[in-house]
């Protein structure tokens, strides 16, 4: 058996894509094990959006008028869910950021950087694990949404594609979180730094109210908001578009072609922020 000699002779480190994938999966596994050891993190991650679903449905649903449908809790439910789902996936940003900042703080990033592993693997592993958590949250959320009366009106393929786009957006945002995590000094700063800007981003959008009611300037911002593209795409794929709500108020291209826009925005975010984060990681010092 050659197993013993193999031990001291490392293979070519993190070479090419296969090495990169392998290392990323090792790190992803580590983060998934962590997750099972801190179940309360997953639990809180689920409770918050569930609360939003219930609160928005029953508190706002009775008072927010949907064009063409008037004030109707049922119409609002249909309209709302894609927005809540999209907001939920973006919250993964804070988790990824805090996790990476924590690793920096505890010296783990130093350890990883001293190992002959693929350079991007620590971050890729983390973002992949976060996406698994997002998928679990999204699944629970979808069940709760069904319980309060949300329904889809398309085939299963389109519904899954909708969730796929939501997950892709969440994955893209974890790379923003990764960059934040590498840039701040404490996990606490990463958590708040990962959340603060998400509120204007997710509220100046088509997620919770139709864009019609906003001032003209904000209408433009909202319709070009990458977040809005995914909300509109998911709405379309779930069959939750409401006839009285125009696709676009300002004629913005992403609103006319939400599925393509969502894909392009997410991929663009991944490319840009992955590049920045990996570069930051290379020079990171705890």
């Amino acid at each position: 058996m050659s197993a013993v000699t193999d031990t001291v002779k490392p293979q070519v480190a993190g070479s090419g894509i296969s090495g990169s994938v392998r290392d990323s999966l090792v790190v992803a596994k580590r983060n998934l094990i962590r997750m099972t050891r801190i179940p309360e993190m997953i639990l809180f991650g689920i409770i918050q959006p569930v609360m939003f679903v219930v609160l928005f449905t029953y508190v706002f649903g009775g008072s927010i008028a949907i064009p063409g449908a008037g004030v109707s809790a049922d119409a609002y439910k249909e309209f709302l869910m894609a927005g809540i789902f999209a907001q939920t996936v973006t919250f993964a940003t804070a988790g990824a950021g805090a996790g990476i900042a924590d690793d920096m703080h505890k010296g783990l990033i130093d350890r990883f950087r001293s190992l002959p592993m693929a350079r991007g693997a620590v971050l890729t592993g983390r973002t992949l694990a976060d996406s698994v958590q997002t998928a679990i949250t999204l699944a629970v959320l979808a069940v709760v949404a069904l319980l309060v009366g949300w329904r889809t009106h398309t085939n299963i393929g389109e519904v899954l594609a909708g969730f796929g786009l939501l997950l892709l957006l969440g994955y893209a945002f974890t790379w923003i979180g990764a960059l934040i995590g590498l840039s701040v000094r404490t996990p606490e700063a990463a958590t708040s730094g990962g959340l603060i800007w998400l509120f204007p981003l997710t509220f100046i959008s088509n997620a919770f109210v139709p864009v019609n009611g906003m001032p003209a300037f904000l209408q433009h911002v909202a319709e070009w908001n990458p977040f809005s593209a995914t909300v509109a795409a998911a709405r379309e794929l779930f069959g939750n578009t409401i006839p009285g709500v125009p696709k676009s108020v300002t004629g913005a291209w992403p609103m006319e072609h939400p599925i393509w826009a969502s894909l392009i925005w997410s991929i663009l975010i991944i490319v840009v922020f992955r590049t920045l984060a990996v570069r930051k990681y290379r020079n990171a010092s705890a």
Binding site: A13, K106, G107, R185
Partner: protein, 341 residues
């Protein structure tokens, strides 16, 4: 041929701060170099440059025969690093931590598993192997961290203040582990603030201060440089100090280095001649009718070496952070250090 760890003129700036100001090192294979110095002297920065975590602004660094700047990933395969913090994932068990590190050293899953089991046994962690490392004591966590650095049995090891924060028992235990490692032929660069530790573990010592090596040699050489042994006398009555001073002057090796403390009535002079001389001093003092409370022959410690080289104690730099959480103080310092980066 240069040693297993070789550095020449390493310079590193953090903004305006010159953290390394031309560090030269040469550690022959199979030996231990102790890098000794106060906080902020440049020890950690040196280690970070040599372990590929930082790129030096200028200078040359070769580890295990490989250029650190040109081929960092090749260097990473040949080194193990144990840093100031126990860098283990606290939510993973000891076994999971070691397996992960093994796999990231590009071992197969099976080999990583086998090696983890071996190390857990060797480092006396087998009983706790399947508990999250969060539940480990400080000493256990340090051992796990060290085990992680040894997964591939690297020919060159770096340990940055390996025993900082450990109680004396755990420190002793870790020293034994490190000694065994070195007996096995590993080349080791160790940084420490504890002079005793360098004395205990290192073949050669480099004293660093303000980013440069200010002295090097074996522990004995450095001690000899400081001026060898001294006689220390405490007289019973204050009025005897002057007479005692006169007596001691007669035995002194040099005209300098005499100290007198009126308050504690303690006098010291540098001497040569050891115990025999001590007996003569006692006889002479007795003949003059000087009653003494204490007398002794003092050999210099590395502490003395440090004071004579730098003008301050090794621990002095730490004093301003006393009372604070040392980790927080360190983090704050690092933040400051990085601010200009």
């Amino acid at each position: 041929m240069p040693g297993a760890i070789y550095a020449e003129g390493l310079v590193k700036h953090f903004g305006d701060v010159k953290a390394l100001d031309g560090v030269d090192l040469d550690v022959p294979e199979g030996t231990v170099l102790g890098l000794l110095g106060p906080n902020g002297a440049g020890k950690t920065t040196t280690v970070r440059c040599l372990t590929t975590l930082l790129t030096p602004d200028s200078g040359k660094a070769v580890v295990a025969g490989i250029d650190v700047v040109k081929h960092p990933n090749e260097v990473r395969r040949s080194i193990g690093l144990s840093g100031q913090f126990a860098a283990v994932d606290e939510y993973l068990t000891g076994r999971e931590n070691l397996q992960m590190v093994g796999q990231l050293y590009q071992m197969s899953k099976r080999d990583a598993k086998a090696r983890a089991a071996e190390l857990l046994e060797q480092f006396n962690l087998a009983d706790a192997a399947d508990r999250p490392s969060k539940t480990y004591s400080g000493g256990m966590r340090r051992r796990l961290d060290l085990a992680a650095a040894l997964v591939v049995s690297p020919p060159v090891m770096f340990m940055d203040e390996p025993t900082t924060g450990l109680d004396p028992t755990n420190r002793q235990a870790l020293w034994e582990v490190i000694k065994k490692l070195v007996d096995g032929g590993t080349t080791l660069l160790l940084t420490t603030q504890y002079l005793e530790e360098a004395d205990h573990l290192a073949h050669d010592i480099c004293v660093v201060d303000h980013g440069r090596v200010i002295a090097r040699g074996t522990s004995d050489q450095l001690k000899a440089q400081t001026g060898g042994e001294r006689v220390e006398v405490v007289v019973h009555e204050r009025e005897h100090i002057a007479t005692a001073q006169e007596v001691l002057r007669g035995f002194a090796k040099t005209a300098t280095g005499h100290t007198v403390d009126d308050h504690t009535r303690k006098l010291t002079v540098p001497v040569t001649g050891g115990a025999k001389l001590l007996a003569e001093v006692i006889r002479e003092l007795d003949a003059r009718g000087i009653e003494i409370d204490d007398i002794g022959l003092r050999r210099p410690t590395l502490d003395d070496v440090f004071i004579s080289l730098t003008g301050h104690k090794a621990e002095e730099a730490e004093e301003d952070t006393e009372g604070e959480d040392p980790k927080a103080a360190k983090a704050a310092k690092k933040a400051k250090k990085e601010a200009g980066q």
